[in-house]
Amino acid sequence: MVNIIINEWKILLRNRAIMYITTVFVLSLIAIVWIGIFQNNNQKDIQLSAQKHIRNQWDNLKPMNPHRAAHYGSYVFKPVSVLNSLDDGISGITGNVLKLEGHIQNEIVYSEASQSISISKFGKLKSSLVLQYVIPLFLIFLAFSSISSEKQTGRLKLLIFQGISLFKLIFSKSISIWLYGVFLLFITITIQALFSTIDSETIQRLIFIFISYSCYYFIISCLTTYFSSAFKNNTSALSSILAIWILWTIFLPKIWGNAVEKIYPLPSRQNFKSIMKEDRAKGIDGHNPSDQRREQLKNKYLVEYNVDSLKQLPINFDGIVMQADEEYGNLVWDKHFGNNYSIFQKQKRLYQISGLLNPFSSLQNLSMGFCGNDMIHHLDFLKKAEEYRRYLVKSLNDKHAFGGSKTGNWKWSADNTFFRSVEKFEYKTPTIGDQIGHYVIDIFFLLFWVMITTLLIRLYINKNILL
């Protein structure tokens, strides 16, 4: 088998056209990875400077009432992952800026896609675009005639007469073509690792990416070679594998993606907002002094501090009410956003199941997942931002309640030292070890396809092709 693979590579290297194309591929990949990293670093700098700008404003807040500061709020900017330069996944269409403030849980806004006319439907020219669309197609072009040409020229019979099994011959040809894809993949991943600042976590992610793409290239190489052996001529082999490629890469992802949203529908924004508003109204209204639930809370505190009126309280009851309102709001948020997140997860799982028919969707999921740019990572960022919002607002409400002011004294101000003492938001992308559970289905289906295509060659090669 090794001899056949070496021989195939010798033939490949002797072909000038292939050498030219390979050179072009390698140079293009170097350029694409480098530009990707450059663009990524550029975007990262802008994101960091925006975050710094906002933090500076917070650090330089002049003395003000903590509740006013809660309305003033803060902003967080979605960070750019290191491997964004390889696959930017959903980052182009999700928002980038999230306002964190009291009473309200805002949504992330200002996506890149909303800032210009529509450009590419398949995303930016990043390594993933080449690795997912161009290289597999090139492997198809290399493999579609690998057996049928041997058949047409009668060389196939000669090779078999020399004692090699048909399976070994076809499998070796698949492997030699697969190795070509792996070679280009290796170059891409190596350049990515060399040019960007990476840590052990990124290396782990790159290894996973390498394995995922290798599996996909194996599937494509084996399937094309199988078709090449199964069909009478090159034309039939090529048209069949191209039809499958189109179905996998263009048709199925879109159709299945739309279908999962219909199977697990999300509420409309208007509906979602009005239901949340309704539920929120059942809690305490921090700004409404005649609210009944506020009265109950007031009585509780009067008893606790053994006083008759709010004025006698050593603390500021307004801060207590605001925090109670906030905590109720958090429960409402957990319920409704939690419900949305659970729908998203269900949709994701159902989409992952399409890997049974379409290994390309498994590859896409894994690629953006390992690059930290899929929905799982996006939702993680939103959850962490919400956790920070709760911390921020609670700190301000606690200061309002226990910072030394009395109930009704809205003119009381917290000083700048206090605002500076509030921790800043720092987001750390979850480790792939913690997240891998989300991708088990994709990994399983990719391996399933590797097995299927190997078995296809092993068990279903028609010996009649020799006749």
Partner: protein, 438 residues
């Protein structure tokens, strides 16, 4: 000529004998129907959502009218947010800005899923508010895009053509009898042209037969007949370009696999590589805007205005809105903090408008850059052209933002003039406000 018409007609039997091609055409037809249906569903959804919001706000208008009656009868005391003052009356006048979907939306969803299409407008609003976020949707699905007719036409039509055309003239070369054809006094050029013409006619007939029912369903011919004609012309031109490219490939090609490889590579270059490259370059040149300028206005600069002394705010208002000088309050020399406070949104709006102008300009620069390379990136040109016919492109939503701004301006104008003229709002005046904003 007759000979070539016959050649074109014989192509029918070639086609019917190829189940692979027939299945591809059927798949394509399903994709067109599916794409139009997706467009129609979104068109209906937008309309229904708008209707439901309108029903809600009509209910709130009724409630306000009852409130005014009760105040006028003396059965209800004025609340903290006194509705007899112009400020709170206008605040309570529901005014939504809607972006009504164009009937043509059935043919292209464009960028409609990236923007909000309804907004409650107040005097404190701006065109980049949080509530203008897009509908709740799965981000991975959004990134993949919806299969609409635009996608089918721009990306799948060339693929169908590859399947239909790659062995036209190629099969004869594969089997080495192509020269037999030319010895029959048939020119290669015309022979290929006749066969290609058959598929050109067939494709366009299929497209229009499928588009017309959806056009009727969404009342396109009543509302957007001209846009539909433009779209039709664009479809013909787009298809013609691909036919021309594939014709040249087949004319110069060696055999069917050679045609297929060149055709799919051309598709890959024009539909994926070139748009992807321009997308990457555009984001390199014009990085994602984190809108810090806008955030500064909506927070720091706004708070800065709140902290100004009332007399400074008043003089600023008089400078920016000179017509206020003719109002009752302006003639009064005493300072009324309540009136000044209710007018602050006028100053904030000026700041908002300035920063929005800057943001829109930076977006426009990016768009200009992308558009200046349309000659090298024709697929994206066609894609955006269709989006513009269906009013689902960036510019349609920019116009919508301008419309929102015009409502904000109108609200502020009314608040300022009526507040400074000490207008007392009763039921009649409130109805006037409702009419102005609806």
């Amino acid at each position: 000529m007759k000979k070539y018409i016959e050649i074109a007609l014989i192509e029918i039997s070639h086609l019917t004998r190829s189940p692979f091609k027939i299945i591809s055409i059927l798949f394509y037809m399903i994709a067109v129907i599916y794409g139009c249906q997706n467009g129609y569903n979104l068109f209906k959804k937008h309309n229904n959502e708008i209707m439901s919001i309108k029903a809600d706000y009509e209910e709130s208008i009724e409630k306000m009218l009852v409130k005014y009656e009760e105040i006028e009868n003396g059965t209800l005391n004025k609340s903290r947010r006194d509705p007899t003052t112009p400020y709170w009356a206008i605040w309570n006048t529901p005014s939504y800005a809607f972006k009504y979907p164009s009937s043509m939306m059935v043919f292209s969803l464009g960028q409609s899923e990236q923007y909000g299409y309804y907004k409650r407008v107040t005097n404190w609003s701006s065109t980049f508010d949080n509530d203008l976020a897009e509908e709740i949707a799965n981000p991975e699905r959004l990134a993949m895009g919806t299969l609409d007719f635009n996608f089918v036409l721009i990306y799948l039509t060339p693929i169908l053509l590859i399947i239909l055309l790659f062995n036209i003239g190629g099969l004869e070369k594969d089997l080495n009898f192509d020269n037999l054809i030319y010895v029959n006094n048939i020119s290669k050029k015309n022979w290929l042209l006749s066969r290609f013409s058959f598929y050109f006619v067939l494709l366009n007939i299929i497209l229009f037969l499928l588009l017309i029912p959806y056009g009727l369903l969404a009342a396109v011919f009543q509302n957007e007949a001209i846009s539909f004609l433009k779209l039709s012309l664009l479809i013909l031109i787009y298809n013609l370009i691909w036919f021309l490219i594939f014709y040249l490939i087949n004319y110069w090609g060696k055999n069917s696999p050679d045609h297929a490889i060149k055709m799919i590579s051309t598709w890959l270059v024009f539909c994926i590589i070139i748009p992807g490259a321009f997308h990457q370059v555009a984001s390199l040149k014009y990085s994602t805007n984190y809108m810090t300028d806008y955030l500064d206005v909506s927070r720091d600069q706004r708070y800065g205005i709140f902290d100004l002394p009332a007399d400074t705010i008043q003089s600023k208002l008089l400078k920016i809105f000179p017509k206020l000088q003719n109002t009752i309050y302006a003639a009064d020399t005493s300072l009324n903090k309540s009136i000044v406070d209710k007018s602050i949104s006028g100053l904030v709006n000026v700041l908002n408008k300035e920063v929005v102008k800057k943001i829109e300009k930076s977006n426009d620069d990016k768009n200009k850059f992308v558009k200046s390379y349309f000659i090298l990136n024709p697929v994206v040109y066609f894609q955006n052209k269709i989006n513009s016919f269906t009013k689902t492109d960036y510019y349609a939503y920019r116009s919508y933002r301008k419309y929102i701004q015009s409502i904000i301006d109108k609200k502020i104008d009314l608040i300022l003039v009526d507040t400074w003229n000490n207008v007392n709002v009763n039921k009649g005046k409130y109805i006037q406000y409702v009419k102005i904003f609806n």
